[in-house]
């Protein structure tokens, strides 16, 4: 645009310059000369304005999320830090000497890839529902996307070995999302193809679009995903472990750096992963099996807890450990024993009761003898008889039946039979308490 004006002015300038060379200064000539002078002044003003406009066209504003490179005659201007212009207004020499290239560095951009997902019709995409299981239709490699994952190691899965050569693999559908940003504007500008900006373009969407960085990133990301996924099992992929996206990110960054793209992968997310619809049933069954197995284990744990606390109360576990741990000191052990509950506590309580009883009885007996002895020494016969008869009296009082039998003189071999009335309900007690039966043969 500016050049055009220059051209125009270069044609116009000589005309007024030539005219005053003639020296006929009549009235008409004078007025003409004045008019020409006027237009000459106007032209000069226009020229000055144009020059100012030309220089002012060098003012550029770099947005807050951008950094800019200046190309002087096509080559990046400056050295080191100075090569990059930060946000704010800048003045550069006007075109065609300098040219500014603004690169959005601060903005992070998201890129989703569906190329590892099964083909979805537009209706399915809109409804957001999962495709129903269809066990018999194979996956079409032209339409459906998926990743291959490794099988579990033979030793992990089947200790007996099923004779495979290790090339078993699984199929899993995944969806990914990449967030990236331009980290090195210079490398990015120099190496990554972005089509020229045409009037009416939104600069940012050209850079990130189909004719910008998108195809490159999609390819590299898919590459990273495929490369990473073969190292994981399908279970790891489905459980959406963090380390798979991290692995993908690492691989992607390596690739981006290798081609000097100046792009940084900020984050990668595995947004969805599921087994193919063809095998979904068995996967669900296997999930159920895990749950069932968990339930069984939980039940067993509950049982274990109950058994232990029945046996020894809440300190059971700790006490058990202390029994097998020689480093636990006696004090702790005693403390634990004092906290005992349950069956074990009963046992000890019984023993304590026994101890008290035995000791008390012994003391009582001793005391009794102590007191009795002086009396006994004085009247041995009487004291003895009193005691003896006391006991006999008590014994006879508690007897259910009493038979006092007159000894027949000289009746040798006489037999006495007593029918003992056994009470069936008392039988169990018989084993604990000795039932004494005194049967006397008259003649023996």
């Amino acid at each position: 645009m500016t050049e055009e004006h220059h051209k125009k002015s270069s044609e116009q300038i000589p005309a007024p310059a030539v005219k005053p060379a003639g020296d006929e200064l009549d009235a008409a000539g004078k007025s003409l000369s004045e008019a020409l002078g006027m237009s000459f002044i106007i032209l000069k003003v226009i020229m000055v304005v144009l020059i100012v406009a030309f220089l002012a066209s060098g003012f550029e504003t770099v947005g807050s999320n951008e950094q800019a490179l200046v190309l002087r005659f096509g080559k990046i201007r400056g050295v080191g830090e100075q090569r990059l212009l930060g946000p704010g207004p800048h003045w550069i020499l006007p075109y065609p000497i300098d040219e500014i290239v603004k690169i959005p560095v601060e903005t992070t951009v998201s890129l989703s890839i569906d190329s590892f997902w099964y083909q979805e019709s537009p209706e399915e995409k809109l409804s957001g529902q999962r495709r129903p299981a269809r066990p018999d239709i194979p996956l079409d490699p032209k339409l459906d996307g998926y990743c291959l994952t490794r099988s579990e190691r033979a030793v992990e899965a089947a200790p007996q070995g099923d004779g495979s050569d290790g090339s078993d693999y699984n199929i899993v559908h995944t969806r990914w999302q990449l967030t990236y940003q331009i980290a090195d504007p210079e490398r990015f500008f120099r190496n990554v193809y972005v089509r020229d900006i045409r009037p009416g373009d939104v600069y940012f969407s050209v850079i990130t679009g189909q004719e910008g960085v998108k195809p490159l990133l999609e390819s590299l990301l898919q590459d990273a995903v495929v490369t990473a996924m073969v190292n994981y099992t399908i279970d790891e992929a489905i459980s959406s472990q963090d380390r798979i996206p991290r692995h993908v990110q690492r691989l992607l960054q390596e690739k981006l750096d290798r081609i000097q793209s100046g792009i940084r992968a900020v984050s990668i997310q595995l947004t969805a992963s599921e087994p193919p619809a063809q095998v979904r049933d068995v996967f669900e069954a296997s999930t159920k099996a895990s749950q069932r197995s968990q339930t069984t284990i939980t039940e067993a744990r509950t049982y274990a807890g109950n058994t232990l606390s029945e046996a020894a109360g809440p300190v059971a576990e700790e006490l058990f450990k202390s029994l097998h741990d020689p480093t636990v000191n006696e004090q702790t052990k005693e403390f634990l024993w004092s906290q005992l509950a349950g069956t074990a506590r009963e046992k000890i309580a019984e023993a304590r009761a026994y101890r008290t009883e035995v000791v008390e009885t012994a003391r009582a007996n001793a005391d009794y003898l102590d007191r009795l002895l002086p009396e006994y020494r004085r009247y041995p016969k009487l004291v003895l008889q009193r005691i003896y008869l006391d006991y006999i009296e008590r014994i006879l009082n508690s007897a259910d039946e009493k038979f006092v039998i007159q000894t027949a003189e000289g009746a040798k071999g006489t037999e006495l039979r007593v029918l003992l009335n056994r009470d069936a309900s008392l039988k169990p007690k018989a084993s604990q308490q000795q039932t004494a039966q005194k049967q006397e043969q008259q003649n023996q």
Binding site: S115, A154, S167, S261, E299, L308, L373, Y391, V404, Q433
Partner: protein, 302 residues
């Protein structure tokens, strides 16, 4: 004065216009080829300002030197083991030598269609044909040579492109999709099902085993605890017995009497319940049943 200024100005404009005819810029993102009467004479890869003869004599052909991505359509290949595999690759390439590129192909689209496509296919068949499927995916991660395969392909392609002198530089090559044919996918699904079923069985068996282990452990723990408690109980009983024994000393004053008392007590205890008592009449005090005893109040016997 005025004239001088104008003259300088005109001269400036003429020079500018002249420079436009004989100068050209090579941008950072380009490389240029200068042709003289249609014959390529100079290749420029460094950015900056260069001179040339005006139009009919010399002409400028700029080439974008940035990276292009080319994704050929996926094709089925066979591995060394004969398994079919569908590998989709992509190639990142750029024009490195404008002269060679100009001589060989001239345009980006032609380069991709005529040159890269067939060579990538060759490379793919070569390299994949050297490897077994188990090099791509393996249950043992240590045996996976995926990245190695990719770098082999890159080296192979770089070599064949360099040998052809097309002025193209292959920056990188990678596999973006790894797929299997329809028929194979059916087989894979069968195997996945079988494997899952077996896993489910394993999980249940393991769960049961674990549960049994937990139960047994708890049982033996509680048994052990009770045994330990019993041992302590025994000690306590022993203490009791020992303490009781201390009082036996007192009994030693008259062991006979002590023994008698003890026997009587035992007798009473033993005969406490369910006793049928049969006794002859000769024994005291039953002898009283026979009649009045003969007692002399004045002279008791002994």
């Amino acid at each position: 004065m005025k004239n001088v200024a104008i003259a300088i100005f005109v001269a400036l404009i003429v020079i500018t216009l002249g420079l436009y005819l004989v100068c050209f810029q090579v941008r950072e993102t380009e490389s240029c080829l200068v042709t003289t009467f249609g014959r390529p004479t100079r290749a420029i890869t460094e950015p900056g300002v260069y001179f040339k003869w005006p139009f009919p004599i010399q002409q400028i052909h700029p080439f974008d030197s940035r990276m292009h991505v080319f994704e050929p359509t996926p094709e089925e290949t066979t591995t060394a083991g004969g398994e079919p595999i569908i590998v989709s690759t992509y190639v990142v390439w750029r024009i490195a030598e404008p002269l060679e590129f100009f001589n060989a192909i001239k345009t980006v689209n032609k380069a991709e269609d005529e040159l890269l496509r067939s060579r990538i296919r060759n490379t793919q068949n070569n390299v994949i044909g050297r490897h077994y499927f188990s090099d791509f995916v393996n249950s043992d991660p240590a045996k996976i040579k995926f990245e190695q395969i990719q770098s082999e392909m890159l080296a192979d392609l770089q070599q064949s492109i360099a040998a052809a002198k097309f002025g193209i530089e292959i920056r990188t090559l990678g596999i973006r999709q790894l797929k299997i044919s329809k028929d194979v996918s059916t087989v894979v699904f069968e195997r996945m099902k079988a494997e899952r079923d077996r896993r489910a069985q394993d999980i249940i068996t393991q769960g049961n085993a674990e549960a049994i282990k937990i139960r047994t452990e708890a049982k033996s723990k509680s048994d052990e605890l009770i045994a330990a408690a019993e041992a302590r109980a025994k000690v306590i009983r022993g203490e009791g017995d020992a303490e009781a024994a201390k009082h036996y000393k007192t009994l030693e004053a008259n062991p006979e009497l002590a023994m008698l008392l003890r026997n009587l007590e035992a007798l009473q205890k033993i005969l406490e319940n369910r006793t049928t008592f049969v006794t002859p009449m000769d024994v005291e005090p039953f002898s009283l049943l026979k009649g009045m005893p003969d007692i002399d109040p004045n002279s008791p016997k002994k």
